[in-house]
């Protein structure tokens, strides 16, 4: 359970940024390893690419695109917060980053299915 002093939008935005960053850090080595199969073992790579037709994998890809998008837009929000003139609409900016990420990953999902 989220402790009372943490239950506000900007803390949740912070946690989302951390979790998405950690998840992407775990994903990227696997991603590069799969890409390396193009040079080392093409048949195995084809096997992996066939997996992407699976509905569960498509859903997982949606999650992945969401994590990537929310980390990018969340990161841009933080850069804007720290380097552009201050605006008081920080909660709106955090909500916009999540909203755009849902739009991007949702579009990806609808194109995939």
């Amino acid at each position: 359970m989220i402790r009372p002093h943490r239950s506000h939008p900007l803390w949740l935005a912070f946690v989302l940024h951390r979790i998405s960053g950690l998840a992407l850090a775990l994903f990227l080595p696997v991603h590069f390893w799969v890409l390396s199969l193009m040079l080392t073992d093409r048949e195995r790579l084809d096997g992996f690419l066939l997996l992407t037709e699976n509905a569960v994998v498509k859903l997982a890809e949606f999650g992945l695109v969401f994590l990537l998008a929310v980390h990018i837009f969340g990161g841009l929000r933080l850069l804007a917060m720290e380097f552009l003139p201050w605006t008081s609409r920080q909660k709106t900016a955090a909500a916009a980053a999540v909203g755009v990420s849902i739009l991007v990953s949702g579009t990806f999902l609808f194109q995939a299915i």
Partner: protein
């Protein structure tokens, strides 16, 4: 205040630096009752050994901050109505600070960090010089004005998870003070302030969670000040080239 027939089930943290536990009290509910009124009632009517800190009772002095139902609050201006959950209150000493006894936290680390962040005024004039005219319309003065109403209550320090995780972190209040001084045209210590706030544990440790701005009882935004310091230190490095 008018007493009602309802009671509040209050859990108060009792103990010292080496540890402690919550003790339960039944306190009569009253109209317009503040959390500090509840603590005072317990000390005056039930257990005179209960230790806590307060002074002005009107939100000026910053002495009475405590954790109320898990959130840091100035207790003298926090109405019981607003924080009561199922007729229960849990009151504990401020988080992230050592405990002296019961609800009285040791504020020394908090104020030590104020000094460490370069929060002492560096004057440019002596008392023999005429008073400098400062326009309230200047951008720098407006930046300073936005942060100077800090009452040093320690609420932001207790709310901050970076303070909890990094003992060296200077904390929102100290960095907010440094930002107001940096924007004060009468202060000549800007380089020493920038050096102090960019050391290990300085402004760049802030993760912009915003707990400080969310809980500040005076509705200040230390997060804004810290973002300003990050910008100022980055610009300073770009300008100096090192």
């Amino acid at each position: 205040m008018t007493e009602t027939d309802k009671n509040i089930d209050v859990s108060v943290w009792r103990g010292g630096p080496s540890g402690g536990s919550f003790q339960r009290f039944e306190v009569p509910r009253q109209d317009s009752q503040t959390v500090l009124d509840v603590v005072a009632w317990i000390q005056q009517n039930d257990d005179p050994t209960l230790s806590y800190r307060f002074a002005c009772r009107v939100g000026m002095c910053g002495s009475c901050a405590m954790m109320v139902n898990g959130e840091p609050r100035w207790t003298c201006r926090t109405h019981v109505d607003k924080v009561l959950k199922n007729d229960r209150l849990e009151i504990a000493p401020l988080r992230n600070l050592p405990v002296i006894k019961d609800l009285a936290a040791d504020m020394d680390p908090f104020f030590d960090k104020w000094r460490k962040a370069g929060g002492v005024f560096h004057p440019t004039k002596s008392r023999n010089d005429p008073v400098e005219e400062i326009s309230p319309l200047e951008e720098e003065r407006q930046n300073a004005n936005a942060g100077i109403e800090c009452i040093n209550c320690g609420v932001c320090f207790a709310a901050c998870d970076v303070v909890a995780g990094n003992p060296d972190y200077l904390g929102p209040a100290a960095l907010n003070r440094a930002w107001t001084l940096l924007n004060d045209t009468r202060d000549c210590g800007s380089q020493s302030i920038l050096a102090a706030v960019s050391q290990g544990g300085g402004c760049h440790n802030c993760h912009s969670m915003g707990n400080c701005a969310h809980f500040c009882p005076n509705e200040l935004s230390p997060m804004t000040s810290i973002a300003g310091l990050k910008r100022a230190t980055a610009l300073s490095i770009l300008r100096s080239g090192s």
